[in-house]
Symmetry: C2
Subunit: 225 residues, 2 copies
């Protein structure tokens, strides 16, 4: 394991094309770019089962996890709050604005993402199942309803908690799933919000860094996630 004063962020050295730019270390890289903190990525090999070392850092074998010196934690949402605890570029200082940002960050992960993931899974992972088309059609209205509620919640605002925050990093990366499924054109205010997020230089640096880390050739056999 690399030792340094910089935060270490776990990521993959290869993922299939459809997942590039979607892996969740992107959220942590983006947050670090917003606050100008250099970091190093710790690349996991897609073909090798996770060892007990990694599982004691990230119990589900997923990315990202964060390490700084002897300190270790996991889950992209938790890491964003950790990075934002003393930095108002990620979390507003004033209590109402701060907890509104935290509320929206959780909403992205638990009220919006599951509806989108259920849908995209049918396309990506269960496409060979005879029932996946019908399931997709049944699940789609729930995803669209969530997006309509989000759009209403955002209203005329530029960002979810008055100013840009970790909540927007989370929500915009979640909306990438909706964008993949062409659900955003039905919600023009969200489409514009999404584009505002992608236009941020910190996002673009984070994306480039994730793509640059896919240094490995496609594996012959992919380890189950």
């Amino acid at each position: 394991m690399v030792q340094s004063g910089m935060p270490l962020v776990s990521a993959f050295n290869w993922v299939p094309d459809f997942a590039r730019g979607h892996v969740r270390d992107l959220r942590v890289r983006w947050a670090l770019e917003e606050i100008g903190r250099p970091y190093e990525s710790v690349l996991l090999d897609a073909t090798t089962p996770r060892g007990t070392d990694y599982l004691s850092w990230q119990p589900f074998g997923q990315v990202p996890a964060l390490r700084e010196g002897g300190f270790a934690m996991f889950e992209s949402g938790a890491i964003l709050l950790y990075l934002g605890q003393d930095d108002e570029r990620l979390l507003p200082r004033e209590a109402q604005a701060r907890w509104r940002a935290v509320s929206w960050l959780f909403a992205a992960l638990n009220s919006v993402e599951p509806a989108l993931t259920a849908l995209v899974d049918m396309k990506l992972f269960y496409a060979d199942q005879p029932w996946s088309g019908a399931a997709f059609a049944t699940l789609r209205p729930a995803a669209d309803k969530r997006l309509a509620q989000l759009s209403q919640g955002l209203g005329q605002d530029e960002w979810l908690a008055a100013r840009f925050s970790a909540a927007d990093i989370m929500m915009i990366t979640v909306l990438k799933i909706a964008n993949t499924m062409d659900l955003l054109p039905g919600h023009p205010a969200l489409q514009a919000y999404f584009q505002r997020g992608l236009a941020r230089p910190a996002y673009q640096r984070a994306l480039a860094a994730q793509l640059d880390d896919f240094t490995s050739e496609a594996p012959k056999q992919i380890e189950g996630a």
Copy 2:
């Protein structure tokens, strides 16, 4: 809207039998019981569409949301962190233990719950669809894998972050879904962890309070969630 010095927690005055004891205001009630803080519930009517007042408090029309004086926030995970920020009975003070608890709290919501929800939805909401049985069988191994990883992560410990914390409130309420589907007997350490959680007096008071609030008769027509 009720005005008082006590925290107000939104909840429902009626849900179908299968949802009783599962609605997410249980998490917030449990946390408040652990720290001995009195609160009032604000009951939403299951038959009435959410008004704009409530949607400006909880953009997705869900429960729970929390209000204290002029302060308002939503999402059960966010509310647990808010209640724990200055109370070590919910979040340890020492940084590594604290952020390990926050990591596990997010893992409950985003790495464990979605796999269980996808499964239970097939039983509860899509049971009339011809494809739901096959979808359940396909989704089940993913849920079981998550439970096995959680069990491994818990190891021999009593609670997820060394001592009881908000992470356990979150994970144990998530495991209620697994319990409903009889998935826990396959994971004896989780089964025991789950029972330790349910045995806490604060949990039992929270459950009784949620059940007590179901004061309304079954509606003739149920408003879509």
